[in-house]
């Protein structure tokens, strides 16, 4: 088995008496889409915060590409190759779609402490940004202010921004949240396209999407991973059915 790209080792986080992350261990292998599912209150958001560096765990380790990043800040983890999207879309509304992506390009190529040349006239930066926009199908929306894009387009733009950081791992936090049926279909098609090129950790509520996209699934309940396995394993696991799927059917 290949060396995991992201490895969570016995992560723990308590808020008062409540164990929100209760000994989570999890591996994301290079090239796979690993989905984390779980009912509301399972601790998915906290887990993402711990992986991205927004929240520091009380105990345990986050190992990324063989390096312990548990104590690194969010920006430093991004520079190490861990890109993320947000559950609530996060773009710079006043910037064009192109400028949003160009910001990510400049962040990884050369210093951003450059004061003289207009950033918008950097040909190499713009070309790289256009490539990322094209990858998510937004090339013809490059000059539109991000704030004026539709919800689905903003989602795609956020993906383009993440791709422009040249990530080794994409962490997608409920990328389908708030999308209508048509948008969901388009986003799933987009994620399917990206699947071959990127390692993805997908945190998602939409079971259809998870079962369509994921190679492996981990089920998080009350801060613990109760099962990890292929889609078929998870579907057939009685404990998961009781904790989660059963609840869905009820």
């Amino acid at each position: 088995m290949a060396e995991p790209l992201l490895r969570l080792v016995d992560l723990r986080k308590h808020y008062g008496g409540l164990a929100v992350t209760d000994g989570v261990s999890l591996d994301v292998l290079p090239g796979e889409i690993h989905a984390v599912i779980g009912p509301n209150g399972a601790g998915k958001t906290t887990l993402i915060h711990e992986i991205t560096g927004v929240v520091r765990p009380d105990a345990g380790q986050v190992v990324f590409a063989g390096r312990d990043v548990t104590r690194l800040s969010l920006p430093r983890r991004v520079r190490a190759g861990l890109a993320r999207t947000f559950q609530i879309t996060s773009v710079v509304p006043g910037f064009t779609a192109l400028a949003n992506v160009a910001l990510a390009v400049q962040a990884r190529s050369g210093s951003s402490f450059r004061f003289l040349r207009p950033a918008a006239s950097e040909a190499a930066t713009n070309t790289a940004a256009m490539d990322a926009l094209a990858e998510v199908g937004l090339a013809d929306r490059a000059e539109v202010p991000a704030g004026a894009l539709s919800h689905g387009e903003k989602r795609a733009l956020e993906l383009a921004i993440a791709l422009a950081t040249k990530p080794r791992l994409l962490l997608l936090d409920e990328p389908l949240a708030g999308a209508g049926p048509e948008e969901t279909e388009r986003l799933i098609a987009l994620l399917t396209r990206l699947k071959s090129a990127y390692t993805i950790l997908l945190v998602e509520h939409d079971m259809q999407a998870v079962f369509a996209l994921a190679d492996r699934v981990s089920v998080l309940v009350y801060g613990r991973v109760i099962a990890t396995g292929t889609v078929a394993d998870i579907r057939g696991n009685p404990e998961v059915r009781a904790a989660y799927l059963g609840e869905d059917e009820a």
Binding site: Q106, A107, P118
Partner: protein, 307 residues
């Protein structure tokens, strides 16, 4: 830049004014005040509209620059090649130290902490008994430039101020358009987004704060020379508020709005003071009305009519 015809026309008018019969002592003194305050206001607009840092202590960096002139004057250092770098350097250092703390906060907390640092500077200046304390300090003479009394010449000083204002505008515009400025502008709108592409906004904001402070220091250098007098009143939070008001009056989104704001503010203030006994009773409500009804400020008005 096509929408910036009005501020360009204002700069042009300021340049032509002394040649068109407005070269008297009263007019040039008034115009120097406009240009110097406009310079400070543009640098504040760079902070507020560019970096999203609403400082209520910007007058402190102007005051630090002005006091650098006064203190050096008291020790017989009056050469611009030494005084100007000292004024800029002192203001930049002041901004670095206070900014390093203030920029860790945001929103109302940032406003309050910059206000607090400004008041610290105010009370420090008031207690400098050797340099006039509360009463202020009158310069022996204007700063010399390589031994010449260039700045003492009314016309020469006028064009130095004009050049400094134009340079400030060009510099701030260049910075905002650069990679550095792109990070500032993005962080103003969405700091989380900037972090998520791998950049921490803090050092960018701090550098912006120091640059604005340095420009404020240069404005203070000119202000001290314009009035040949320095006092704590120039550091007070009211002055910071006036600068912020010029920025808002001119329109936060555009650097050059601050030039219009400063011109309108100083001219209105001067005209009212000459013609109305309790002019502040009129001035205050006028400012409130301007904020209420000029969405986007004076510059917004100009752009809308031509947009």
């Amino acid at each position: 830049m096509r929408e910036a015809w009005l501020p360009l026309a204002v700069l042009l008018a300021l340049g032509a004014a002394p040649l068109l019969g407005f070269g008297g002592s009263y007019e040039t003194t008034l115009m120097a005040r406009v240009m110097i305050l406009a310079m400070a206001a543009v640098s504040l607009s760079f902070l507020v509209g560019g970096a999203g840092l609403v400082s209520l202590g910007h007058a402190a960096s102007v005051g630090v620059g002005a006091y650098a002139v006064a203190i050096l004057d008291a020790h017989n250092v009056t050469e611009a090649t030494r005084v100007l770098p000292a004024a800029i350097g002192a203001a930049a250092l002041f901004s670095l130290v206070t900014g390093a703390v203030a920029i860790r906060t945001s929103g109302v907390h940032f406003i309050m902490i910059t206000l607090a640092f400004g008041q610290m500077a105010f009370f420090t200046a008031s207690s400098l008994a050797a340099y006039g304390g509360d009463d202020g300090y009158t310069l022996y003479s204007r700063t010399e430039v390589w031994g010449s009394r260039l700045l003492g010449d009314r016309l020469a000083f006028h064009y130095v101020c004009l050049g400094a204002l134009a340079l400030t505008w060009a510099l701030c515009a260049m910075l905002l358009a650069s990679r550095f400025g792109r990070v500032l502008r993005a962080a103003r709108e969405n700091a989380q987004r900037v972090e998520a592409v791998g950049l921490s906004p803090y050092p960018f904001r701090l550098v912006a704060y120091v640059i604005a402070g340095a420009i404020g220091g240069a404005a203070g250098f000119l202000l001290a020379n314009a009035t040949e007098f320095v006092s704590p009143a120039g550091i007070s939070w009211q002055r910071s508020g006036e600068l912020l008001f010029m920025v808002i009056l001119g329109g936060v989104g555009r650097l050059w709005g601050a030039i219009l704001g400063a011109v309108a503010f100083v001219l209105l203030e001067t005209w009212l003071a000459d013609h109305v006994a309790h002019w502040k009773m009129v001035f205050g409500p006028l400012l409130v009305l301007a904020v209420l009804f000029l969405k986007g400020g004076l510059s917004g008005l100009v752009v809308r009519r031509h947009g």
